[in-house]
Subunit: 300 residues, 4 copies
Amino acid sequence: MLNSRWFLEFTTKDEGSIQSLIEVIHSSNTEFQRLEILKLGSFGKCLILDGKIQSTEADEFIYHETLVQPAIMSMERPEKVLIAGGGEGATIREVLRHGSIKEVTLVDLDREVVESCKRYMPEWHNGVFDDPRVKVVYDDARKYIESSDEVFDLIVLDLPEPFDSGPVQLLYTKEFYSIISGKLTTSGCLVTQATSSAVHNCSAFKIIGRTAGEVFPVIRPYTVNIPSFYSPWGFIFASNATDPVKVQKKELENKIRKVEGLSYYNSDIHYSLFSLPTFLQKGFKEESRINTDDDPISFY
Amino acid sequence: MLNSRWFLEFTTKDEGSIQSLIEVIHSSNTEFQRLEILKLGSFGKCLILDGKIQSTEADEFIYHETLVQPAIMSMERPEKVLIAGGGEGATIREVLRHGSIKEVTLVDLDREVVESCKRYMPEWHNGVFDDPRVKVVYDDARKYIESSDEVFDLIVLDLPEPFDSGPVQLLYTKEFYSIISGKLTTSGCLVTQATSSAVHNCSAFKIIGRTAGEVFPVIRPYTVNIPSFYSPWGFIFASNATDPVKVQKKELENKIRKVEGLSYYNSDIHYSLFSLPTFLQKGFKEESRINTDDDPISFY
Amino acid sequence: MLNSRWFLEFTTKDEGSIQSLIEVIHSSNTEFQRLEILKLGSFGKCLILDGKIQSTEADEFIYHETLVQPAIMSMERPEKVLIAGGGEGATIREVLRHGSIKEVTLVDLDREVVESCKRYMPEWHNGVFDDPRVKVVYDDARKYIESSDEVFDLIVLDLPEPFDSGPVQLLYTKEFYSIISGKLTTSGCLVTQATSSAVHNCSAFKIIGRTAGEVFPVIRPYTVNIPSFYSPWGFIFASNATDPVKVQKKELENKIRKVEGLSYYNSDIHYSLFSLPTFLQKGFKEESRINTDDDPISFY
Amino acid sequence: MLNSRWFLEFTTKDEGSIQSLIEVIHSSNTEFQRLEILKLGSFGKCLILDGKIQSTEADEFIYHETLVQPAIMSMERPEKVLIAGGGEGATIREVLRHGSIKEVTLVDLDREVVESCKRYMPEWHNGVFDDPRVKVVYDDARKYIESSDEVFDLIVLDLPEPFDSGPVQLLYTKEFYSIISGKLTTSGCLVTQATSSAVHNCSAFKIIGRTAGEVFPVIRPYTVNIPSFYSPWGFIFASNATDPVKVQKKELENKIRKVEGLSYYNSDIHYSLFSLPTFLQKGFKEESRINTDDDPISFY
């Protein structure tokens, strides 16, 4: 017998996904967005903002390991990390796997999202919000970074897609990347999630990569599949000095050996992630649009 | 304004996908299945059997290149190829990119599917059905292979998933792989599509891999993302003597240089495909079920 | 922004309805069926059995008044009533509006449904389960009626549709109506819900009417629209002696004046309900199939 | 096996309907709206404007007979009729069943809709566009009526719902009804479709009725169920002198006898239509909002 309760998400105007719905764990309208924590038949518990799945119990490890580990494993001894977004706490969790870390600042606009994740989603944060190295700030990430006096070894942009309104659009522009560039240590790195990398829907991914390439001498686009996103997903690594593809395998394996609890990432995966299919290699070469504050892209 | 016409596919009992529907190009009930050729807003033209997307204009190149090229590029001079299923003709197309090929036999159960693909889907077959090296047989693939006197350099199983009824279930068993093993040349290879490799839905993939491993000394599971399948997808490469991971990069690049028209596959991708995430490496090690004629798995 | 949680019901193989889902109040698998009590954006709280809406907070008064009042208002001084199904308690509530009632027996197969309705749906039963005139029996309705020594003034069949399996199919047959006929007082009446009366989907309605007409000299099919059923809905009134169309208007209005709390039914509605559109008048005349235990209809 | 092609319509923000889709007969974007003529598994061929079902092969007779016959059957010898909207031609067809008719003017904004209906939907218009008494004008209905020098015996407003933009909103206001009042013969009548009459969604219906009551001394709201609208549907009859409830039954039956081809409407139905359930009687009494050009209602 077919299930009678469903979660429905339109990922583009032409595509959507439906998932059987077990339970409504929490639902509210925060100051900034519609927040839902649902239990789905397919992916278990999941966080949904404005109707879009952000991460799920079943596969958040793929997203969060892939967001954090390739960059952090490519660095010498990262100490200070800033995370924009990432209210689930799982990005902090991935950062704190590394013994060198001294300070993690999470900047999220929406206190209610972070509080709800803390309360209902311990599988994600695993208690990291209580770690003394972790600081949580409720603010617009761009404003916070711009006005900060600090520099960071790693800045992770764990943000929603740049939909056609709201401040998130200005977190994918050349101007913002320039601000970030000024707040990184010499070998410091930036990683941002970068929307779908599916062949029929990857223009935002290419523009974000091209835009980061205007600011940073090293950029490495990479992709992974997160089943609950119904699409392969893109990320952009950028740095003034560090190149994850050039890390020695032996060195990498030494680091990985010291880290516990990884379920997706390993040394083979590290290099594979950065191997792009021919159509994407070409796509990045041919992309000419640069994303600016004046005329920011909208994903949907 | 929201579209009003949609294609709906349940991929598991808990998950489905909806795609805006532009046009019904062809729809019929064949002797064996329900056949639809639709034009979707997202993926363009696509072939649908019993309500399941088989391949689409936008991303069939990912599926078909990934099904064929890693194996065929790992072989010396393959000459004779057998394809089971693959009525669209795109698997033949991928095989015929290689100058050494002398004979391709396609065995499909359903003449009406092949005829309709020929007629409505030239983007896939690109005229290969008219190539003198191509032979099409309408028969049950297992029966055909079993009773054949020939041996092949490459056998490609381009089949629907092993749903819970019908002959296709017997095309994923140990007994069938043993039959195939006896019909391969010494360095001959088998590739089969092997269902979803998504973390929450990869048990069939692991069982198929484990089963092939009972028969063949070399097996290499690999995965790729095909957006229209809404899930990362698994394949199993198997052979008595050939190992695609051990092919020399230089040699591989020489071969690739001679081949035209590839949009996904390249030498970096070749090796990356076989890098499995940790959870899958573990999963294949721990899988104990072997798929047999007596008690074949059902995917859905 | 589109809602993200939906209730989905296929009412036929070609038609379905989706309703925004606010809350899952209760969900369980009983001994007999899947039970859900959901809160919907459109209709408020509702009872769902095996994925089919049974009644909703917003419009249950239409269904329950229409099921009970036309018959009961047509009778002299009904005292004993039997209800088959109707676990929500709202059918009892409608019966107990009438001062003459001395005893109401509700026979429902599924204790868990009745207990859950009692607990979660007070808007329906309004406490009637505590009324000393009410007796609840957990049994198969046919078996219970057949083996009962009692006679009733009114028997109300408040049942799910006759889907293609299970005992409910045998509660719409000629044999069952014959049993009922023997358990009614001289002027006693039977009312049964009788599935959709929509023009493209009313064959079960006509067959049920034709079948009752084989047993009872007076039958009066009638229809009403219950929005949450997405279709006009049919009922069959049957009796050996009472005809609701022949009740005097003045007399009817006297009775109605004594009854409180009706929101749908009134004296104009009483007569209007029995006015059938031409296509249904014709349909009932032409229908030849009689529903029997040997070959019972299936609605879906 | 579940169908794979579906028509999806959201009727309110909380409710939608899905219907299996057989064929896309025609689809285009006209100057004014999105036009689709689809064949559905449930209702056969149907006309869809901006994603909303307007009428279907299976049940258009219910809508069109109910829109036209109660008014026209209540008049002496109607000769001149104006129809606003109604591009399918079925409203003309219903009017022309009456021998007294000398002239029917159809005013529709969208030539492409009328032309497409003529071509693809002969089941509706049955050739009436070729009748010499029929005149088709492509114009805004309000502008046309306002500037016309003629008076009409019957004006039928066969319009889409007053959604929140576009000129159709001004076809449900007090000002428009006042214009119409000045263009009717002494015993002339107005009928308008008046949106859903479902208990949880009937506020527009009540406002339209209340608004017509500000202009006309006689108003008679009535409702019918059109299955493809997934809801009982409301209509408002209004006149300066004619009251359909007061027509003598004998006289009515004489007229009906002369008319051929009716499948829904009959003399019993005539009176029943105007019997409102208690909640609607009360609703119309209590409604205080009058719909005006300044602040017109929006249905959705």
